[in-house]
Symmetry: C2
Subunit: 380 residues, 2 copies
Amino acid sequence: MELIVGPRTRVTPFTDRATAAGITKAMVYNHTVLPIGTDDPAAEYRALTETAAIWDVGCERQVQIAGPDAHRFITYLCARDLRDLQVGVARYAPMCDHQGRLVNDPMALRIDDTTFWLSIADSDVLLWARAVAGEGGYNVEVTEPDVWPLAIQGPRAEDVVAAALGEWVRDLRFFRFERYDHSLEGRSIPMVVCRSGWSGQDGFELFLMDGDMGEQLWDLLWGAGQPFGLGVGAPNNPERIESFLLSFGGDTDSESDPDEAGIGRFVSLKSDDPGQAGHDFIGKEALRVRRTSGTQRRLVGVVIDGGPPMPLRSPRALRSRDGRPAGTLRALTRSPRFNANIGLALLDPPWSEPGTELEVTLDGADRSATTTTLPFNLDS
Amino acid sequence: MELIVGPRTRVTPFTDRATAAGITKAMVYNHTVLPIGTDDPAAEYRALTETAAIWDVGCERQVQIAGPDAHRFITYLCARDLRDLQVGVARYAPMCDHQGRLVNDPMALRIDDTTFWLSIADSDVLLWARAVAGEGGYNVEVTEPDVWPLAIQGPRAEDVVAAALGEWVRDLRFFRFERYDHSLEGRSIPMVVCRSGWSGQDGFELFLMDGDMGEQLWDLLWGAGQPFGLGVGAPNNPERIESFLLSFGGDTDSESDPDEAGIGRFVSLKSDDPGQAGHDFIGKEALRVRRTSGTQRRLVGVVIDGGPPMPLRSPRALRSRDGRPAGTLRALTRSPRFNANIGLALLDPPWSEPGTELEVTLDGADRSATTTTLPFNLDS
């Protein structure tokens, strides 16, 4: 089906450039178009893993928390401790509801003393934050600013961004960022330049702070990147499954918590750090109880036999060898790196144990699936 | 661009049937596929306004509020007074945040004494309600049940649904519903049958309560509807603009309140009913203040000269005749009924006054636009 955009489904400042560069497939993410692929996925994968790829991720919206209570408020929102977050630093910070279920898994950026951005996955954190702020009486303003991320990912990403924006970017460490205005023909392209991105490769996210300058920024990077083999791409499902980066809302459902989603290590429970007083945050007690229950589902890797499968249209049931329901397959790809079919599955105990043999029906035929730990470690 | 679905963007129980019946265009709504059109929009409009149309609106997700505090909680969530809402009755009930901004404009249904559904527009009410319930300590469970609406709309909708489900549906009044199990070849299709729908025509929404029975329900209606001229369709932009039904998130932005969106009459402020004690709800004081400020934008109708325009890809600036910014055009269509270009615009005062002459650039050319009251009244 053809994706129709309109005032409710927003285009980004980069949509037209991404389309002109070869994007033919898209999804919708945060009420915004997310380009998802060209007609040549092998070339996309090669660019990302061998040279560099440019991705329109304008759909990765920012929820800005600003005001006198901003730091206290964001500390309460996020399950990861942000009390020591400094200006210029980003941190992956899952957010939970009062029952410990994931609300989103944003990257939090401290822009200045009293201004933070949550760079969000696909759920309305704007509403969530406004609800909590309103009920709790926090003195903060929660808004969605005119900010649009553009990603450059891959082993040559640093060369591309340095050629476009200057050598200084080489000194940026992982999850560090700088405010930067790029002068171009008498105009300025204001942005936050962060070393981050949704791939297992090196890379940058450029948070464009003026939606009218999107094509100028794209063209600048595109031109600077050609000597380094920059190609158009999009968030890359094979690579992100190989590297195991969580796709919130795809790998998870509305009942998932951080532990089952494999990101429990980013939750700061006091019990994990006996020497330190923990921070108070939404869902803390519920998460503590969940950790002791032992009945939880787990997101695990699965390796599935046979030839390359069709893309997964919706979660598929996984069964034990004797036909009992074991859970659901939530992501699936043919891995170029491992030359195997790999996927992510939410499984009930005891099926989540590594090495468990399961079955799944794909494209009308039964296949064998074997569970494995994450991230995948299949290099032989 | 081709719309790609996957575990994060859900298909509905009706997606394949809708596609087989001729749907070629889609959007994403509540993280779910929303079919939006065939290749023959004129036939869709004729079916809706002259016979009947079947729409896959499974993306209209239900947020279920259940538990001892459910009625008290939903009364606090909604700006419209739901204290007297009876089982079997639905009510259009906008929800606001603490600053009076729209969160969503659902239809609320009381399923039983302690169970309510919010049949939502495109925003994560699940998160909003969980945040408020968690912060306020309400004893409710907030979930998204396995419920998928299918709409039959048009002047012959009653005949179609009566032929499929029984003559009893003719007695259902507007915004009234019944629980009903339809027996079919030894199986049951459980549903809530409601006289409602997002069109200015008569019609029904069938809330299928078992996602595995979607194709059976579609086929049942499709077969029963052929003698009455049932055709495939989708939420119809020309007809809904002609009739003025709000498209939350398209006609509105993240700062809009009910008054500016033209649905202020569905907000129960005590001052509107001096003889009655008002209900307490989120945003009440803010809405009271906004009503007295007189500086608000308004959503108004606009009639635009010239031939049929291209579909609106994003909101367009409207200018006064002397070039001052007046607001944005947020919806646009060629109206079959009025044989004119009509649209919806969010305008600052004084440009929102009926009869104001404005300008807008569409498809590269300037056009004249004249404001008018809503709903449109252009029949000559």
